[in-house]
């Protein structure tokens, strides 16, 4: 379904392009050996280059180059044999060199694409380029009334800027694009993709147009740091632009900021006020040359990527496209799934993972990989359900407690006395007791009050403390009442 904004006069389409800044998961910075550890005391992870000391020189971190190449490969993109680092010049207190080392005309990675899935349909989103650049430090304005402070721990950390083509046409597509990109980055390990920590953030270019029209004037919303905010920012911004055009005014190309509290975008600076960055090749750094051998050896290191994995899961385990997408989104989940699913019903396994396991992970705020949950723990529980040793409902009720316990599923259920009662004579005993205790009800039932059937079931379950196999209870009760 096409995303359309209904204005007062016309219907409008949205055109979106994203610039995603992904911090490379490397131990040290792009041009210095300082640590990138997050959350350390301010200004404790700073080398000469990171604070712009006189005579300091940048030296490229080869690990970061490898990560950019790997990422390029995973985005089906062209790896440039030669790329150039440029200086992007502007003054700001948290930019110690007075310029950011970036790549302007000759980025390390050229054109590529990724696929996203919207309502069961695959859409190909073009990648324009990926380039390497330094992050800036952080200005702290809330520590003191009079003074601002600067933390340079982040200064010089390696960023990949991944620029998409204007192929996205709805907030949900933008969200799916970022999710997919994040999933890929995490698969190959080039970026943690943690938006809360700011190591993945997006600049969103938004423009609107009527169907068949050429691209409209765009506005760039800077530094949006959650998927929800990306969607909200687009929705607000697109509507704002439609209102302006329909009122007979023109969109001014500008940079805007999203305020998540008010859920609106605000003007930051117009094109006229924008910096002239005076890019030029950094004379401290020779051109970056990437050999064919390097590309080949990195290609060999590429893991199975989400799309390939999804196809395989659909094929091998008969998963629906939707389920496969959910399972492969996180590599840890996919591995977890694959360990459990062998010899088990894939639909049941999927439901348990995406249901109980996911909500439990959310509760303990961990991902599956570092949650410490052994796949067999879930697998053996599923086995007991399938074998009707325990009901689905019971399993769900005790799930959290089971996760916290050290016992395997069988032991846990025994200890809790939860094993399902499937012995016919035992169940008959309870049924008979219920019926003989409630003779009037039995009479009413026989006189047509069939709704009372549920009452009998309830009584049996109550007496069995929920252990009686519900299917069997049903069956036997019907038989008894007919007699």
């Amino acid at each position: 379904m096409t995303y359309v904004i209904e204005g007062k006069k016309d219907s409008w389409q949205v055109v979106l392009g994203l610039e995603v800044h992904a911090q490379i998961s490397s131990k040290s910075k792009l041009f210095s050996v300082a640590s990138t550890n997050w959350g350390s005391d301010p200004n404790t992870q700073v080398e000469l280059v990171d604070c712009g000391m006189p005579g300091a020189l940048p030296v490229i971190n080869e690990y970061c180059v490898d990560q950019a190449v790997l990422t390029g490969l995973s985005l089906n993109a062209e790896i440039k044999k030669m790329s150039i680092f440029d200086r992007k010049n502007y003054f700001y207190p948290d930019l110690p060199q007075g310029y950011q080392i970036s790549q302007f005309e000759h980025p390390i990675v050229g054109r590529g694409h990724i696929n996203i899935e919207i309502e069961g349909k695959v859409k190909k989103i073009g990648i324009t380029r990926l380039h390497l650049e330094q992050d800036a430090g952080k200005s702290l304005h809330d520590q003191d009334i009079k003074n601002s402070y600067i933390d340079l721990n982040r200064s010089g950390c390696a960023l990949m800027e991944i620029v998409s083509e204007p192929d996205l046409s709805s907030p949900i597509e933008a969200a799916e694009y970022v999710k997919k990109l994040r999933s890929i980055l995490r698969y190959i390990g080039s970026c943690d993709g943690n938006m809360e920590k700011g190591n993945l953030r997006a600049d969103v270019n938004v423009s609107v147009k009527r169907e068949g029209e050429k691209l409209g004037t765009r506005c760039e919303i800077k530094n949006v740091n959650s998927i929800k905010f990306i969607q909200q920012a687009i929705e607000f911004e697109a509507k704002r632009q439609v209102d302006i055009i329909e009122n007979g005014e023109k969109i001014i190309q500008e940079t805007r900021l999203f305020d998540p509290n008010k859920c609106e975008t605000r003007s930051m600076r117009s094109k006229e006020e924008s910096h002239d960055y005076r890019y030029f090749p950094d004379p401290d750094l020779p051109p970056l040359i990437i050999s064919d051998e390097k590309v080949i050896s990195l290609k060999e290191k590429l893991p199975e990527l989400p799309d390939e994995k999804k196809d395989r899961f659909m094929r091998e385990f008969n998963l629906s496209s939707y389920d496969a997408e959910v399972i492969v989104n996180d590599q840890g989940t996919a591995n977890f799934f694959e360990k459990i699913v062998k010899g088990r019903d894939s639909k049941v396994v999927t439901n348990w993972i995406t249901g109980e396991v996911f909500s439990y992970l959310k509760k303990i705020n961990k991902d599956i990989k570092n949650s410490g949950i052994a796949p067999e723990k879930i697998g053996s529980l599923i086995d007991l359900i399938v074998d009707e040793k325990i009901s689905n409902r019971q399993a769900k009720e005790v799930f959290e407690e089971y996760m916290k316990s050290m016992d395997d599923a069988t032991t846990f259920i025994e200890k809790k006395g939860l094993a399902q009662l499937s012995d016919q004579s035992e169940i008959y005993k309870i049924i008979d007791k219920v019926l003989s205790d409630n003779p009037k009800m039995v009479d009413d039932y026989n006189n047509g009050k069939e709704k009372l059937f549920g009452f009998f079931i309830g009584q049996v379950m109550k007496i069995s403390k929920g252990k009686a196999n519900p299917k069997l209870v049903n069956e036997l009760l019907v038989k008894r009442l007919k007699e």
Binding site: P54, L57, Q97, R278, P283, P286
Partner: protein, 481 residues
């Protein structure tokens, strides 16, 4: 007490080895001499206590037969090289009180070779100047001015280094050369100045002016000293991405190298308008010396020579405009009181930088600006390639190129101050080799009618410093003084 004034580094090494004198004696001699000649203004910061401490260690090493190549040799260190715990100013108010907590690779290499630091030598602010008249710490005087009863400039930007060696305040000194800042002052002060191939000396810890051009080198009395100091200064340095991995020869081997049969190119384009007639005469003498040593002389053409100066004065300021952006008063160095951030930037940089630096920063900012980049900076990069190509083509035909170092001899302090272009013209003969990254030496070759020194320049193939030194030695032997 010995008179060490005219001592060369090589003879000092011999004297120390033969125990004719100690490093402490040498060092104390130069300390006294520096104190007596404060009016020359060669040093921004003196490090006498440190020098004496280093000299004592050197004497111990000599005594124990553990002398390193430059053991006990007192030198001056251009104030562009960061020295751990010793104020490093680059001749600027903006770094007036800056004390680095790290050591430049070049200075570190020298200390590891046993050299002794007497102090940090004066220089044009951020190495921008050709007369040492842009230093925040005042002009440096050329000691040879006394010959003509004038206050002469020592040249620049390594003016303090050249003046100090020339007046016998130290045995040698370091310089840095971006467009001629070693060779021109060496020529003005009657000294040997060598700019190695770009990448020979690490730029780590050397305060940047124009990164693609800056190169450290020695200023000494003799060619032999030049080889000795160069040997200690060079190294491959992984902290400088433009540092060369080219193998490092024993530069003293220049003595074994004969110039016989070598082809010396004489570029006709260096016969510029305004070339001093005395200098032209010395250039001719130089040609005849090489001839009589059995070298082949041939006229060559470097057709883009006349574009070199404008090219240089686009590229160097462009790089400088970014390199000097870090001096913003935020983290270190001079900071002016201010009302807000923009005010802070404006006042700090407005008052912290001198006039010439500000002029070049504005030129550099301009040539990189949107709408001007292609016409200036990009074009300059293209011309730079053509200039390099000129040299490459010529070196198919010849082994070395012989030219004058400067169009004129040392001039009086205060001259050439009205029009910056006039000052920039000082570099017209040194800039092409800088743009091409080639090794080049200036060797004292004669005098003008007033007995002021004239230097000839020898330009060599990339990393062929040995041939450059060997040819320099031919001049030394042939010039007759």
């Amino acid at each position: 007490m010995n008179d060490f004034e005219n001592l060369s580094i090589s003879s000092a090494i011999e004297g120390l080895a033969n125990k004719n004198f100690t490093s402490l004696e040498l060092t104390e001699f130069f300390i006294k001499k520096i104190e007596k000649n404060k009016d020359l203004n060669c040093f921004i910061t003196s490090t006498f206590d440190k020098a004496i401490e280093m000299a004592k260690i050197s004497d111990q090493k000599i005594k124990e037969n553990e002398a390193r190549p430059l053991e006990g040799i007192p030198i001056g260190m251009k104030d562009l090289f960061c020295t751990n715990g010793v104020r490093t100013t680059a001749g600027s108010k903006i770094l007036e009180n800056f004390v680095p907590f790290y050591e430049s690779t070049v200075s570190n290499n020298l200390w590891n070779s046993g050299a002794i630091m007497l102090g940090k030598t004066n220089m044009d602010e951020f190495a921008m100047g050709s007369a040492n008249t842009t230093s925040f710490f005042g002009n440096v005087k050329n000691p040879l001015g006394s010959k003509v009863n004038k206050e002469l400039v020592p040249g620049g930007s390594s003016g303090g280094s050249a003046s100090a060696v020339s007046s016998g305040l130290c045995l040698g000194s370091t310089g840095s050369d971006t467009g001629g800042s070693i060779r021109q002052p060496a020529s003005f002060c009657g000294l040997v100045g060598l700019k190695p191939t770009y990448g020979r000396c690490s730029r780590f810890g050397m305060i940047a002016f124009a990164s693609s051009l800056d190169q450290a080198g020695p200023i000494t009395k003799t060619v032999e000293d030049s080889a000795l100091m160069l040997q200690a200064m060079v190294s491959f340095d992984k902290r400088d991405s433009t540092s060369s991995r080219q193998s490092i020869p024993d530069f003293s081997d220049f003595k074994k190298l004969s110039i016989k049969g070598k082809r010396i190119g004489i570029p006709k384009e260096y016969m510029i308008d305004g070339l001093n007639s005395d200098i032209k005469k010395i250039w001719d003498s130089g040609i005849s010396w090489f001839k009589s040593e059995g070298a082949e002389i041939l006229e060559i053409s470097l057709p883009h020579t006349k574009s070199a100066l404008p090219t240089y004065y686009i590229i160097a300021p462009a790089e400088a405009s970014a390199n000097l952006a870090r001096y913003d008063g935020i983290r270190y160095g001079f900071r002016h009181n201010a009302d807000d951030l923009n005010d802070l930037y404006q006042k700090t940089r407005g008052f912290g930088f001198g006039k010439e630096v500000k002029r070049r920063l504005m030129i550099g900012t301009y040539v990189l600006s949107a709408g001007y980049y292609d016409a200036y900076y990009l074009k300059a990069l293209k011309v730079r390639k053509l200039i390099s190509q000129d040299f490459e083509d010529s070196f198919q035909k010849c082994d070395l190129i012989l030219t004058p170092t400067t169009p004129n001899v040392a001039f009086a302090i205060g001259e050439k101050q009205t029009n910056p272009i006039e000052m920039y013209l000082n570099d017209v003969l040194t800039v092409p080799a800088s743009l091409a990254g080639l090794p080049a030496i200036s060797v004292p070759s004669g005098f003008n009618s007033e007995k002021l020194p004239i230097g000839l320049q020898l330009i060599g193939k990339p990393f062929d410093e040995i041939s450059v030194l060997a040819a320099g030695a031919v001049i030394e032997e042939s010039r007759g003084f």
